[in-house]
Subunit: 328 residues, 6 copies
Amino acid sequence: MLINLLKPGDAVLGFFLLKSMECKTSSNNKKYLDLTLADKTGEINGKLWDCTEEDETGFHEHILVKVKGLIGEWQNRLQLKIEKIRPAGPQDEVSMEDFIPTAPESSEQMYGVVLRYVEEIKNKDIQKIVSRIIAEKKDRLLFYPAAKQNHHAVKAGLLYHIKTMLVVAEKLSTVYPWINRDLLYGGIILHDMGKIDEMAAGEIGLIVDYTVEGQLLGHIVQGIKEIDQIAKEEGVDEEVSLLLQHMLLSHHYEPEFGSPKRPMIPEAELLHYIDMIDARMFDMKNALENTTQGQFSERVWVLHNRKLYKTSFHPPEGGDFEHAERRG
Amino acid sequence: MLINLLKPGDAVLGFFLLKSMECKTSSNNKKYLDLTLADKTGEINGKLWDCTEEDETGFHEHILVKVKGLIGEWQNRLQLKIEKIRPAGPQDEVSMEDFIPTAPESSEQMYGVVLRYVEEIKNKDIQKIVSRIIAEKKDRLLFYPAAKQNHHAVKAGLLYHIKTMLVVAEKLSTVYPWINRDLLYGGIILHDMGKIDEMAAGEIGLIVDYTVEGQLLGHIVQGIKEIDQIAKEEGVDEEVSLLLQHMLLSHHYEPEFGSPKRPMIPEAELLHYIDMIDARMFDMKNALENTTQGQFSERVWVLHNRKLYKTSFHPPEGGDFEHAERRG
Amino acid sequence: MLINLLKPGDAVLGFFLLKSMECKTSSNNKKYLDLTLADKTGEINGKLWDCTEEDETGFHEHILVKVKGLIGEWQNRLQLKIEKIRPAGPQDEVSMEDFIPTAPESSEQMYGVVLRYVEEIKNKDIQKIVSRIIAEKKDRLLFYPAAKQNHHAVKAGLLYHIKTMLVVAEKLSTVYPWINRDLLYGGIILHDMGKIDEMAAGEIGLIVDYTVEGQLLGHIVQGIKEIDQIAKEEGVDEEVSLLLQHMLLSHHYEPEFGSPKRPMIPEAELLHYIDMIDARMFDMKNALENTTQGQFSERVWVLHNRKLYKTSFHPPEGGDFEHAERRG
Amino acid sequence: MLINLLKPGDAVLGFFLLKSMECKTSSNNKKYLDLTLADKTGEINGKLWDCTEEDETGFHEHILVKVKGLIGEWQNRLQLKIEKIRPAGPQDEVSMEDFIPTAPESSEQMYGVVLRYVEEIKNKDIQKIVSRIIAEKKDRLLFYPAAKQNHHAVKAGLLYHIKTMLVVAEKLSTVYPWINRDLLYGGIILHDMGKIDEMAAGEIGLIVDYTVEGQLLGHIVQGIKEIDQIAKEEGVDEEVSLLLQHMLLSHHYEPEFGSPKRPMIPEAELLHYIDMIDARMFDMKNALENTTQGQFSERVWVLHNRKLYKTSFHPPEGGDFEHAERRG
Amino acid sequence: MLINLLKPGDAVLGFFLLKSMECKTSSNNKKYLDLTLADKTGEINGKLWDCTEEDETGFHEHILVKVKGLIGEWQNRLQLKIEKIRPAGPQDEVSMEDFIPTAPESSEQMYGVVLRYVEEIKNKDIQKIVSRIIAEKKDRLLFYPAAKQNHHAVKAGLLYHIKTMLVVAEKLSTVYPWINRDLLYGGIILHDMGKIDEMAAGEIGLIVDYTVEGQLLGHIVQGIKEIDQIAKEEGVDEEVSLLLQHMLLSHHYEPEFGSPKRPMIPEAELLHYIDMIDARMFDMKNALENTTQGQFSERVWVLHNRKLYKTSFHPPEGGDFEHAERRG
Amino acid sequence: MLINLLKPGDAVLGFFLLKSMECKTSSNNKKYLDLTLADKTGEINGKLWDCTEEDETGFHEHILVKVKGLIGEWQNRLQLKIEKIRPAGPQDEVSMEDFIPTAPESSEQMYGVVLRYVEEIKNKDIQKIVSRIIAEKKDRLLFYPAAKQNHHAVKAGLLYHIKTMLVVAEKLSTVYPWINRDLLYGGIILHDMGKIDEMAAGEIGLIVDYTVEGQLLGHIVQGIKEIDQIAKEEGVDEEVSLLLQHMLLSHHYEPEFGSPKRPMIPEAELLHYIDMIDARMFDMKNALENTTQGQFSERVWVLHNRKLYKTSFHPPEGGDFEHAERRG
């Protein structure tokens, strides 16, 4: 009974994550609960009509609930008309983590992969800075998403993004061997680290809000300051520190996307493109998973509001688009 | 005596490619020859003052010449004051190809690599289209540059660009295995093929001019029409043909760069980014080869007029930036 | 009882085109039908409250219905509260074509006009291409609109647009007699022909959707390919074919509107401006027909969201703005 | 010996308009005269080397001179090396007007055509305003160009532009008969009238400079103020005056081209497009007259820096592109 | 019981301005009144469910009403569920002006301040123009807002804006004493005067609509014409009149904001920046008054959709942010 | 014999700053020196023809020289043909500082004014940060210009800019008393402080070049890092430090001018506008000082390439535009 498989007329009986909840008054002046229910595959709006006072107070966000109801349609979107709803309890033997969209690999495993890349960095100054930052932020890296809504907005999405980019970087540096791999690895690991301070996330891996500092400065400047300070504390070479800061500063590439300087070293240029590729592949895979072969997807906001087309002959042979590398 | 090593005061005696030539009248009303001389490493302006009628008629573009002269400076640019100049002859035992900037691998070898990728394409329709086009254009592919002035504007630059992109694509498709490799390989091989009809190049691998069709339609539309026609002749699946055409149409990504449609399949998205990466790495490597460590390069027009910085600790260790993968 | 004359409080009894229909659930959880009803003069939203199962299944889109109801207002827009509704039958003696917004001249007559212009083309190559394409597409030309929502989105709107543009072209070519009339006529007839393959329209002359090819390539590229192929089949002069293709490619004028090349021949420049004039005059006439003298219209989306002003002294004398040239 | 026919090596002996003149010092520190010579077909740069004091003082701008010299080339442009030069005198029987690029019809005749259109205006208020303004400005209208450098920058070019636009308007209003012809004619006649106060022109029909008011306000605002004042003096209907002012204000269409408001009546919309068409046809005809069939022109600055293509089969039949409608 | 202090659950009993009113039909097909109620501190939406015919006809806009009801929430916005409502009468002893957002100083007093600045103008021509215009427009100046929705959209907001700008100008001209104070004062007083003719406002100081002339020409052109005419009537120096007109024309600075010319005198440059500062300070103060210390405001549309941050240590010491200079 | 008073034909005998110097070869192949000579009022190009080897080696940049020569014109610009030139020596009793464009007040005096503003800051945290930074940078503040070419590119121009902005801020804060003066003063003093590390200037107050860090990060990020570090060292309140950093980050206002965030507090908004006003007044005063009354200036690059108009009645009365507040 996965959300992305529901269709009008389905009867529903199962568990969901109660992602958000609001008590509202209908236009005929009756109270009802307006809910967002989620599982790993998506979200659906639910209505509990004519709700009682206990209904109002018996639930709160970010718990699991058991729901019985019927799927209808309202303004072209599915809606779950709830008949019964109760909080899940221990007897239900359901686990939160089965309901949260999560990176397809385990956090500890991905963290280990990143550590191995750090070990491969030959420049000791870069290694010092990177090692210290990922150690200090390890706790949060293990569950932080990479964004509130865009690409990699899943639990441990930031770590998954970093890890995948490192793999890409390793491969590209065999094609362009004159590239400084140390800078590239360092820049990739650090490029979005400021997001951990820019946004506040709960442990279930969803961004709750932006921090005050995040709004006033943004993760690029926050990340630069962190590198600067650690570099000074560690006494590393000034040029090295400067170049890593420049990579952060320029990785959005265009002023209107937050980078006042464009890349001035090839490693910064590559960082930008690897970041773009990994973000786009994540979002496109997502969009296509919910699309029928030979059809166009809905418009996807983060992809310049494009529709995507899913070829009718996809995947090439025996491959498995839906499950390949997903939730490993 | 390579051009990129010359400095004011140097006496010059050696062979050059006479790239362009014009007879002019100075402001004190004397005739002189204004020449562009080139070798593999760059170009220099030359002046033959007070030239005679034989001087005017004794040379033409695209031959090798032997020159004696002195390096001076004029408005911050080097200039060669020519004392003696004559066409090179058989006795000089110099070969044109030693003077033309050329891709770092042999054309036949690169063509062979591309063929191997074509063999790996499992979709027979894609393979048919691609095979036929690279066979038909083989003659010109072996020497065509990829542009008049931008990236890969060297002999066989187009082939080198395609071949490198294919290597990158193969590597990326191991990171994103759900991608349709057949489409990606096909799109890469075909994406700039229209340039062969858009521009006219001499066999020494320099673009002479744009064709009438090239100016009125551009290589994207030219390439699309070619795929369309061959697909019809070969009777291939319509969707396959359409998707390859879409990849051509969208690979510049933005309308103002010539793509009226943005990519609607992930393979088209990847094609765009692989194209960008390979072009940028080529241009940046070029710019940095002529830059001192710890210094900024000149502004580079094709890189949004940026200066590039060459790190003082480049390359990491024992690597060889200057010669790695250069002129094979 | 024309739709554009309805006002709140009116009782309605008559026939309408059922343009679209959806069964919805209200916020107090009852089913109702949400309908779009249309006649030649416009559209109105209708609600059938508390609908039964027969109501749900007894209707479908694109039929004529008889409706009894009352006009109300909802969020500043008129709404028809339906009391009774039934499909029209033969006994009603109403005809679909009386309810569809249609070009003001008969299709066959307009097609005849276009044919006469084709005969005036002296260049045999242009004539061959144009003749064949309008012959092959005649069936659809007779009812296709020129757009889904913008200008000339009426039955046979594309043909009406072409025909009017030809008349304008003929007149302008007497002012600028050095213009090549053959190219201009040819370009006009072909300029939007790709739309017939870009969009799918039902025979009642309304666009149902974009085709897959239409979305991946767009009507400009589709039209170019068609000319290219037919030109090759007919063995026409290459330059002629190329110029017609260039006219298609450049007729949107700006890259961001879909033209990667700007016009490079005066006939292409004229084609663009004639296209603009005819589209704008159509849209402005429409907007002003529903506006009171001395007042501004609503904002019109397709006219850069402008309001139009209807002068209080319009038309000059005894002219008849409302009916001039309307529905012939 | 027309300027547009000269080529390197030609010996020159003939009369020219001395359009501008400057005494300069060469880099070897000798004085020379730097001249711009013109006839109806174009301009050429001339040098009088080693000039004497009499040379310096014996000439001034805007006279005719007789010149003997030789055509050379300097930085890809033709240059006339002057051997002898003297002012033309009565005995030479040459007339200034044979040397100035001029509209192809006589001013008085064009003025008469405009008057006839004014008579056709049925709205007496519009007629009053227009009549008075063209009467008051008649003297200057007879020789003013429409611009300093762009389209219609020839003697009486403004009048020629107005007259041609009126002819186009008349023809278009038969295709769109619901258009208010009075407003359209009025708007066309007045649309650029402010240019007469924005720029100062000598009687030979060349703009000398912008006026202070022209620079601080621009011809659009200047024209609006003139209409406003005359309308008040003549006591015409306020709406009429307002609409004419709006047509002036909006006729450049885009804010960045000087129109803070977009057209809000169809007559203003048409005015804009008729203005564009006439300007573009003028500039394109000019550019193509100097281009070989089957070739591209130079880049033309006022046409977005485009090259134009002259078809190899132009004109259609027996037409005469070069001379059609040129210089009456 | 000020509107900006209301929260869900509050019982309401008091007087409000009935700003707008509409009779609607709910989705369960019952009539209700949809009202906007206002006081000096803000606006709230109100609903009178199941309204009778007397309810429909017993009220009209822009009167005071007494209301009893309950505050609820609907889609994250407060909503007043009305139980009783009646028009206020004389016995209620409430005064309209206590309910309208108004400039913080008395109109007569502000008008007096402006007059004193006019007296300080030493250039008699500028003084003549300014004196006459503010005298002629005095009636409306005393209550006109400066905008429909943006900055200073309060009763007498235009006068308050002018007066504050004059104070700023006086202070800046002591820092830049070479500035021509006369022009600056004149430009400030006149810069938005055309708004009085561009928009129609009721005496309670709210813009009702744009005038026809306002929409066709805009306040900048309207203001220029007024200066031009008065200057001619008063026989003032032409340059003076021209410079004031130029200041109006250029004070929006960018073409896309309505200024076809950028400032060409320093006084026009200053006028623009003083205008910006005063508008922004007004809007920001407003936004922050409703924000908690240490928090961000809602997004503010007129401030490029920014959120503002209210510092936790604001104001510095003993200052009184909330009431400083507010409603004097 | 000030440079801005020279005209063609003048004989020159006097001292100048030798700002830059280059040895070149003329087109007739002779050596000459190409010099830029400057005094406080401007710059002029000079040529020493047929220079000897001693000429080449006898001078270097940034010394004073005595020159005899004649003013000519070359391509509409003045040029000084040098007859004699020698370095100035002690016997000449000329002082470097008389030849360098310098702020109109003494550095020590301006520094004192800034200190007094620092004392007025009541927030001890802001005071601590500001005090320490201006103390640490005092040496360079006393002579640094604010830019390489734009506004305040004079000796001690940065200090003059800060000081003037503080005066403006003080005055504005009496008009908008709810503004936090401490933040505003702090933000002004710090806003461009990063420029001292972004650019390298010699003690004569001219920028020599950009530093590596300046190019890779820019003065905004450099300044933020400095505040961040000092704030941590001084243990100041985090919000205070953050707000000052935000003011730096946002003071260019638009992403394309280097500010990834727009101002979110009114003090940051004011900082931006005060910065703009002071820069523009400086540049406009400069441009007008060299312009005749009643005329337009040359186009000024830093003012969007505008021409400025100098009124014919400037200054109002007895004021002294040329010397007011200039060079104290």
